[in-house]
């Protein structure tokens, strides 16, 4: 993998965070979609249930629960990327950028709480 001259370690972290998040969420969604096609089960209207219920339902073979987990993993991937950059910049003593990342993270958490 060819990287820019600056911050190769951080770019590697971000690369693997995004790649891993997409791979994990994509695999979960694919499994959920195959199960959905096999069973034809729909999700009930409304927002997804809490995480504990989602995992319980997914373990019992509920396709919509598996799909919701995959989608939430996908939405969580860029959030995790912001966290990784905040930690990385803090370690590399680029405190001003670490603070910027924490501000973005706080806005994302606020949105999650509003939703």
């Amino acid at each position: 993998m060819k990287t820019a001259p600056s911050q190769p370690r951080l770019t590697t972290w971000v690369h693997w965070t995004l790649s891993g998040g997409v791979a994990l969420s994509g695999s979960t969604l694919l499994a959920g979609l195959v199960m959905t096609l096999a069973t034809g089960r729909h999700a009930a209207p409304g927002p997804p249930p809490d995480w504990q219920s989602l995992f319980t339902q997914a373990l019992s073979g509920d396709p919509p629960a598996l799909l919701f987990i995959g989608l939430l993993l996908l939405v969580g991937t860029p959030v995790l990327r912001v966290f990784v950059l905040a930690v990385g910049w803090f370690i590399e003593r680029e405190h001003s950028f670490a603070v910027i990342a924490l501000v973005v993270l706080a806005l994302l958490v606020s949105s999650a709480l509003l939703g």
Binding site: P5, L18, G32, V75, I100, L108, S110, G115
Partner: protein, 293 residues
């Protein structure tokens, strides 16, 4: 529409793949294509289409950004700085989505896109003329390092089309922040990635090279969309089978688009982007004037 029938799932995956290719090529989330396809082509309610688009642009952004960051094309410091504005805008847009008239917003969208397309086309023509100024800016980079302004911390290097490293300086950060706030708001309101605003602004106003502008915009789109996605999840507008079908298609399409993008030079990309903006402007103006079809 039954989102779980095999035939419909197949068509939805194909639609997602098509928008994924375009998103990867143009540095956008592809939402400008996806929402009309879902609403007009599949008859899906607009609020479900917007929610689906919001989640799918996260898939596009994450898949493309993973590669762009690895190549060093995306400017992460600039992206994170601008994300403060896009995220704030996306939250505001997501909250206000249910208050303002979509037709009013679509008309505003069309009005903003027309001059942006014009500037983008003009920028393509002036590329050769501005090349000496850019070369001069490169020479000034080392002497400029003594200045500790925030913008200088955002300066970066991109590998150009000839394979040579090309340093660039970021100018007029305030303009980038302002456009990012507007782009984030439109992203939260309409489910688009907002790249149509950010890429030309970063290139024309902030002097970021076109490919770096597209990569940095894509880098930001995931976080911007995530900010409003939580609100759409909370309102129950994310339908899992529908969204999963589109997302899986988008991921496949993004991968194909990246392969094509490696063979695409910046100038044709600019030209295609200007035409894309005009097409989207016409589409939005028609919808705003005559109502939803």
């Amino acid at each position: 529409m039954n989102y779980t029938s095999p035939l419909n799932v197949g068509w939805l995956v194909l639609a997602g793949a098509g928008t994924g290719v375009l998103g990867a090529l143009l540095g956008t989330g592809g939402g400008v294509f996806l929402i009309p396809i879902l609403v007009l082509g599949f008859g899906i309610p607009i609020h479900y289409a917007i929610a689906t688009s919001i989640v799918s642009v996260i898939a596009t952004s994450s898949a493309v950004a993973a590669t762009n960051v690895g190549r060093g094309t995306a400017n992460m410091r600039l992206g994170m700085t601008l994300e403060c504005a896009t995220t704030l805008g996306a939250i505001l847009g997501g909250i206000v989505a249910g208050i303002l008239s979509p037709r009013l917003l679509e008309g505003l969208f069309a009005l903003v896109l027309v001059p942006t397309a014009f500037l983008m086309w003009k920028g393509r023509i002036e590329t050769a003329a501005t090349a000496p100024r850019q070369a001069g800016a490169n020479v000034e980079l080392h002497s400029a390092a003594r200045f500790s302004s925030w913008s200088r911390k955002l300066d970066a290097v991109i590998i150009d089309d000839t394979g040579k490293p090309r340093p660039y300086q970021v100018h007029r950060l305030w303009a980038g922040l302002l456009v990012s706030l507007v782009a984030g708001t439109f992203s939260g309101l309409l489910g688009v990635g907002g790249g149509v605003f950010k890429v030309p602004a970063l290139h024309l106003l902030c002097d970021v090279p076109m490919k770096a502008a597209a990569a940095t915009s894509n880098f930001m789109i995931g976080v911007t969309a995530a900010a409003s996605a939580f609100l759409y999840f909370g309102r129950g507008e994310v339908r899992p089978a529908l969204t999963a079908s589109i997302v899986l298609g988008v991921l496949a399409g993004s991968w194909i688009g990246l392969l094509i993008n490696q063979r695409t030079k910046s100038r044709p990309l600019q030209k295609a982007f200007a035409l894309l903006l005009l097409l989207v402007a016409v589409q939005m103006a028609v919808r705003s004037t005559f109502g939803r079809i």
